[in-house]
Amino acid sequence: MTTQIIPSNPDSIKTRFTYSFVRALKKLNKSRGASVSPSMKETYRRYHMIRVASYASMASAVGSKRAWSRAVLWKIRNRTSHRALKKKSRIHALTRTKVRENPRSDLNFHQENDLRKLVPGGEGMDFCRLLNETAHYIKCLRTQATTIVVVWAVVVVGVIVGRIGDGCGGWVEMSVTCDK
């Protein structure tokens, strides 16, 4: 059952993301003890770490070519150590970049700002570039969501296999014959 299949496109963003995300999950799992009944806080921490891991692996899969991926990586790197510093720099960034007072953008000013907040690294760009980044970001978010779904499914299957292996042998055989 351990057939190693080479991914069809070995260098795509999707495969890179998957590899790094799975590695991160493995690390996370190792670090905690197995079968500890999770408290809410514990679960929340795990959730947070998994989320950060997913964003980080996505950004590293994309590389430094995109402004949003650079911004994400930068944020994550600075998140742990310099939180106060990051806040300051963010405020500076806001004041530094004046959104251009184009007559055309006055209409969409509100939405532009919202979009800037959503897309990582969107603060310091003009609208045109922001749209570019948004398009790429949407694509990557989509692949991220789909692959995380698959990872989750695999994990679920692993759970099932594990649990069945635990103690339901004869019953499984019976069910198999029923299924046939």
Partner: protein
Amino acid sequence: MEKENLFLNCGSEQFQNFFCNPSWENSVEQNDPFESALSSMVSSPVAYATASGNNDGENIVIRELIGRLGSICNSGEISPSTNTSRYSTPLNSPPKVNLSMMDNQIRRNLQNSGNNFPSFAPFSTDPGFAERAARFSCYAKLGLNNDSELPHRLVPQLDSGNLSRVSSNQSFKFSGSPPMGVQENRNASLQEGISASYRRLGRFSRSSTPEKTEFGDSRENSSVSEQIPVGENGFKGQNNSNSRKRKSVPRGKAKEIPAKDVNVASENSESSAKRSKSYDESSIEKGNTIKADASESDKVTGDGNQKQPKENAKPPEPPKDYIHVRARRGQATDAHSLAERVRREKISERMKVLQELVPGCNKVTGKAVMLDEIINYVQSLQRQVEFLSMKLAIINPNMEFNVEALMSKDIFGSRGSFLHNLYTSDAYPSQSQPGQNLHNGIPNGTEMPFQNGRNQSIQMPTLDNASEPVSQASTFWEDDLHSLVQMGFGQNETQSFHAILPTASLTIFI
């Protein structure tokens, strides 16, 4: 297994029924025999030329073709534009025109017998052909969003393509719940999946305690309502880019006619090319006003189709009119405004790209609403990712990480159908009884629902501590998983999954 077979059969049946639907019948009939006639026209002359080369054979072929074309012409004229969609009108008009043109050509070539004609060389003898070809290509391009191809070749393919897409989407409407079962258009299904999950997420976040049956119904309704926008997405995307092409009509003519020179080699084509080039130069003279105008009008109207019939009426004139009008207003020559127009064009271009990415954005005109949609979509995607990571966090503690083997096998290979099957089998029937499945949960061990062994094996994933929102969330996500997993694998394996399922269920447990 039977259910899926049933769905597939229903889908295909209704697909065919749909084609027999009278409102579509004429246009379908009109185009398919047209296309077949053309293909036969292309193939048979060649066959005849190579085989015999005598005039008798050619005459027979020609007469047959004329007969067919004549019949198509008649049917084309008779066929009412019962299609209420606006796509029908540009579809109907060009074929007729082209048919008459080709008809004349063929008759004329009967007189100039003695040619052995490879595909369209006889047309070269007609002096007025190039001009007509240019005009008709203009029609075809404006009407059907394609360029640099012979219009008559272009029309039937696009027609059938458009029709098949629209009809496939409508067949989804008829067949009801599993749109994925009859998957004619991968793009449509992909976007449907994303849009479905997008909208459902919105619904979920709004409602606190949805009923399971309600979910089923609303999901079906949403799938019905989404597919038409998705179907129109394909069209709208085309038509939007199509309306952009108005700007390039004068330039496009110059480009297009050299492309047609492969088949049409005559001076008159050059003369018409020169004419279009003169348009071109005049447009360049006036400092890209046409481009700017087109982009403005694109943004303003957002739907170029209604403008096109007006412009089709006089193809050589509009460029000149545009130039004169804009120059008078005095905005064209300013450097600032030029730069601004260029920027505006860039922005609108990118907005179009985004429009294609974001599902269900085709009816939307105007930047503000588009931006709203984009923002909502990005938010929903981010929420999806967070949600999935939450699910992973919940399930992780119970996991022994033997995943690598499974991972390599399932994510990357075509054996990804393994997981795919587990999910597709059941996204819909599961909705009726998810509560029981969830609370059954594997650790109980007693109530593994093995009656239909393949189905509910995955329902339980999460939950020892199955709190209500989480259980609802996971059921809520079942059908999303269905679509998302399909997209993740990108394979069209719906056909084969019912065969694979029994073995798949076996492999889990052995």
